[in-house]
Subunit: 392 residues, 2 copies
Amino acid sequence: MAINFANRMNNIKGSAIRELLKLTEEPDIISFAGGLPAPELFPLKELEEVSKRVLREEGQAALQYSTTEGYLPLREKIAQRMSKVKVDCKAKDIIVTSGSQQGLEFSGRVFVNEGDVIICESPSYLGALNAFKAYLPKFVEISMDEDGMIMEELEKALEQNPNAKFIYTIPDFQNPTGRTMSLERRKKLLELAYKYNIPVVEDNPYGELRFEGEILPALKSMDTKGLVIYLGTFSKTFCPGMRIGWVVASPEILSKYVVVKQGADLQCSTIAQREINRFLEMYDLDAHIANIIKVYRKRRDLMLETMEKEFPEGVTFTRPQGGLFTWVTFPAHLDAAEIMQKSIQEKVAFVPGQSFFPGEQFKNHGRFNYSNMPEDKIVEGIKRLAKVLKSL
Amino acid sequence: MAINFANRMNNIKGSAIRELLKLTEEPDIISFAGGLPAPELFPLKELEEVSKRVLREEGQAALQYSTTEGYLPLREKIAQRMSKVKVDCKAKDIIVTSGSQQGLEFSGRVFVNEGDVIICESPSYLGALNAFKAYLPKFVEISMDEDGMIMEELEKALEQNPNAKFIYTIPDFQNPTGRTMSLERRKKLLELAYKYNIPVVEDNPYGELRFEGEILPALKSMDTKGLVIYLGTFSKTFCPGMRIGWVVASPEILSKYVVVKQGADLQCSTIAQREINRFLEMYDLDAHIANIIKVYRKRRDLMLETMEKEFPEGVTFTRPQGGLFTWVTFPAHLDAAEIMQKSIQEKVAFVPGQSFFPGEQFKNHGRFNYSNMPEDKIVEGIKRLAKVLKSL
């Protein structure tokens, strides 16, 4: 007899990216598919020292249960670090989550009834879309240009969808497009959020990885009405393997995330929180980030230069000022999934853009990651892909 | 203007236990309230060695993203360890979760539509009830005796509730009662599950901590139809601070947990999984567990002896053969919450039983943990409580 699952299970499938990651684990694949940081930059020696000290000096507490909100000294340090994106907050405004992914999933759970609308960028991060889908929402997508969401479209969407529950945005070096929302648009977005009394989920995993220009103030930094929920993470600035991120929100909203966290998994890893806290005490994370930026900037330059030189006419791509991804647009008659099938035969992988669109799945795009591959492989991989493109 | 949360948020509140834990963090409190293992038994030196080796020998992989299902060598070792509860399974049957709490929450998400029925023991683990509540179920409670759920009641509940989605049970040293389901009842429960084609969520965080007698076979070990979902954890046998548990289920069911895990937080901590894997390679977890059992058995003995000696007539308690808790029943006219208020003035804490009942909240019970306090504090704490009880 068939097993009777919840209706929501019909709505969620495995992420195409995660399935791809499995394919691309073979060591001879040049993969631009994942969103992986460069592992050769992980501070292994420092972590060894940190881990030793935590176990020796606070080992019993580090392996025990702890509070749902997270380790207080870490939350204090996160609050201080929020000044980088101009947010003025305190430990009490923060809950530690299992990466920013958990903050996304919680946002769905806290706000969305079946049939409610989530407003998002088009395209948008597919891991967020998948997390939200468990709550059976409708997505209303807002087109973007080089300055982010187009505000006229956003206002129309807000007018037409009084049951919209939140606006989901990645203002800095968006996943998958690499685009950054301009300051003017940020202000306008907040103005609209206030007008329509709608929360904003601001997802900022890459904001500190800016290669040039000034860091723009987070939406949260300009939020005078407590409607912005800010999601941060150490995954891209430190390491993803520890699964430590955070949510900053106003007290009423944050208290909902806390009860949801209790039910979800009680708390994040106590020892991971204490290790990151020690690292922040003992070492200079900003110097570490400066080093990551140097490496990624070079890789981005190399990827864009090689695309410029090698890709056939009619293929365009974005020029991200930071983060991990560029978004490639192929000629309209090509299907990125078919390109990927051919390129994987040449041992080169990327993510076909289809799955980043919750509605009409535009087929002629691809997301390319430049943070994870060394320079020679970036050049070689783009060259191979250029050959595939020329053959089509 | 008010913020418009999802309806489910009206149904979930903070766990009374987690709130209590905050109160009981003051060092002079003798706390029988939490479900905390004894921190002085955590293998700190071994972990220091393990952590060093993992960072030196596989550091880059240990800090990177990995697969949603979990680290394969760890899943292989978990599969082997499942033979302790007589379950024959392979790595492919297992997904690693953030403690067994996450497996509970996923069970709600995978199976429950609003208004569906969850059948559970009365009383039951309140962390599970809270996790399930996010999916707006109805609970149907089954009374217990010393051998666990009463099967005649269970059959009646299954007959009367065709929209029941799963049976939730903790067969070994149940939380909060400390009771163990007899072998005969286990067989009957499975027979009923097959007859009514209903999945069974078997939550077994304490099964390996048996102080006397034989480990009973898990429900999962006798499950020929793939209807049992087994939840395990390292929280009580190793440490809770790393948040590593697991789910064992048949392929169709497990695949649902995997997509849910992707959306929830992508994966568990890579480094925690690799550290536990290394620990299992380098050290003898069974010897470590034997040591935990020795200590907890003595603490249980001491708590029960002292209760026997000091508590006034009319107070009864269960005699668990393992695990972390005994369940105290006060005279019917007393309210455990009021007893707790008085006992906290005497610096002794326990959990009033009310919140372990999803329906009618019987007031004259309390859950007492004996694993976390040293022997002298157990004696002192029970004596102080006895005084409070005598004064009422």
